[in-house]
Subunit: 337 residues, 2 copies
């Protein structure tokens, strides 16, 4: 465990580095943070903090920058979790009070608000299919050869899809579809459509394979479809000094542009309310210079997706975590509409 003064100094160094992006010198620390000692004392402490692995030095005669371990300690022990102003609280509240019809719109609003307040790039994905149960299925005839299938789940997420046919569909067939699908699927998880069920439905409707086959195909497609990725404020990151490096900028664009990577980053590890991954803690080389902070959008204990920030390793963790905590709480409290 670190002594109190070491903690103070480590905190001051990281705070300073977060705001300046420059290696922090002993002199600067004494000047700008009210530490009651001389720069020489700081230097001694810094040397010890470096030996213990909390700090790094780009070269012999430069100031210190936080190491991965330093950031980790900062996030776990030193972060302020109420670094949010009254004005920001008001802004967030007003944004989240917007009346939405589709639940995904609320995720989008939360994501863009998060980016606006933190000035970092934010991302979101919808809930994973595996955790949703089917509440109702409805088939609607559009024209004569087209059906829309609507699936309502217990999270409030509504999935719809179009199915086209080579022959006309009768109202009676639509009714049968509605009856069978609701009977068999209500209350089941979204991924419930397995082989036995498929065979049952086939046998029930065997009078018209031309109808049931496209339906099953499209249904399977919707159920297995991966979630959408929402992105907000990608350009904000390009104002950061670290983006002067071509490699950093390229890795960033690469990350954001690869959907599978984004899904992977946002979909793992939710031991805590707020999850922080510093640098390549996630075993992804492209993340070397970035950190990711995520939380689950929950409402009445139901999972409505994941919202996160992707920013530089030296991101303002206190601000990000405070704002996320607040947004998360507000989303969870939001009254049903």
């Amino acid at each position: 465990m670190l002594e109190e003064r070491k903690k103070q100094i480590l905190q001051a160094i990281i705070d300073e580095y977060i705001s300046t992006a420059e290696p922090v010198s002993s002199g600067a620390l004494v000047n700008r943070h009210g530490l009651n000692c001389s720069s020489a004392t700081i230097r001694n402490e810094m040397a010890e903090l470096e030996k213990a692995g909390y700090l790094d030095k780009p070269h012999t005669s430069s100031g210190r920058i936080p190491s991965a371990q330093g950031y980790r300690f900062y996030v776990d022990e030193l972060v302020k979790e109420d670094d949010i102003s009254l004005e920001e609280i008001r802004y967030i509240t007003s944004k989240l009070e917007t009346r939405v019809n589709a639940i995904e719109d609320l995720t989008k609003i939360a994501t863009s608000t998060l980016s606006e307040i933190t000035h970092y790039t934010s991302v979101a994905i919808g809930p994973q299919n595996g955790f949703q149960n089917i509440e109702e299925v409805k088939f609607v005839l559009l024209g004569t050869r087209m059906l829309m299938a609507v699936i309502l789940t217990d999270t409030g997420i509504i999935k719809e899809t179009i199915i086209k046919f080579d022959e006309d569909i009768t109202e009676e067939q639509v009714n049968t579809l509605n009856f069978i699908f609701n009977n068999k699927l209500r209350g089941k998880p979204l991924e419930a459509i397995d082989k036995p069920l498929e065979e049952y439905i086939f046998s029930e409707m065997n009078y018209s394979l031309a109808v049931i086959k496209p339906v099953m195909e499209q249904f399977n497609k919707v159920v297995n479809e991966e979630s959408k990725v929402y992105l907000e404020g990608a350009n904000k990151s390009f104002e950061l000094p670290e983006f002067k490096s071509l490699e950093v900028a390229r890795n960033f664009v690469n990350l954001l542009d690869t959907k599978e990577m984004m899904l992977d980053l946002l979909n793992t590890g939710f031991a805590k309310d707020i999850n922080v991954y510093i640098g390549d803690e996630k075993e992804n080389k492209k993340l070397k210079d970035f950190s990711i902070v995520t939380f689950k959008h929950r409402y009445q204990n139901k999972d409505l997706g994941t919202i996160g920030i992707i920013g530089p390793k030296r991101m303002d963790y206190s601000k990000v975590i405070s704002v996320m905590k607040y947004i998360s709480k507000k989303l969870n409290e939001k009254e049903s509409e």
Copy 2:
């Protein structure tokens, strides 16, 4: 008008610059392009082409690069419109043969194929609402207090939206909504919902303002909603040498990240099949280093949106235009499903 040899030289210079991204010298031209004269002759011609405004020189003793006017001449007069291989034709054909249910999926497939073949970043937007007519409107009850409204237009685009209510909705009310909306809106343009119509509907359903008001509100929202922007291969651009400049990279991300800008760029000027905007011809400073090439996704003379490429000013116009022509033709020919 330019003499034949000047044209040849200009073409050679631009081709060379497109592939190397380096200023082109008189010597390089003689070596790599079979021109039957010495470098001194080329130098004389180059000097004249520069005087006429087709070429620029970064500094006194450097090779030449094309000017905006040079690119314009190249695109208008020198471009090869069949710069596409058999293999590419096969690949495009197989991609576009994918059976899709929602028409937007076809736009997405075309957009990603375009990016794959050209190795540039491609973008697409859906059709503007103003050009679509309503073919059918359908309200579907989901649960007891939620409706889904489905609007089918004559382009085959299907728009759906959720409407939530504070009180239960009866089947009878749904029927009335279906009857009134279809009666009044069938065949009308999507933007047909004006004040008189709104008042008519209100009076027809005045027995329950709590029902009709949310419906009208949401309907208006859908109809006035701006189109989605699809993006493919943003990271491909970051491999280009011009992206070593921070300013270029930043402008690019800024463009892509600003939806209004993208809509604006893709939504104007369709005098020709394929439209080319070189640099800031579109009066947008951020476009200074980029060119945009677009075409309308048309099917049976109906507008299904716009697809485009955004790349460096020195993009391979011949390839891009050839591939676009082919994709455009294939999309238009695609048989109805």
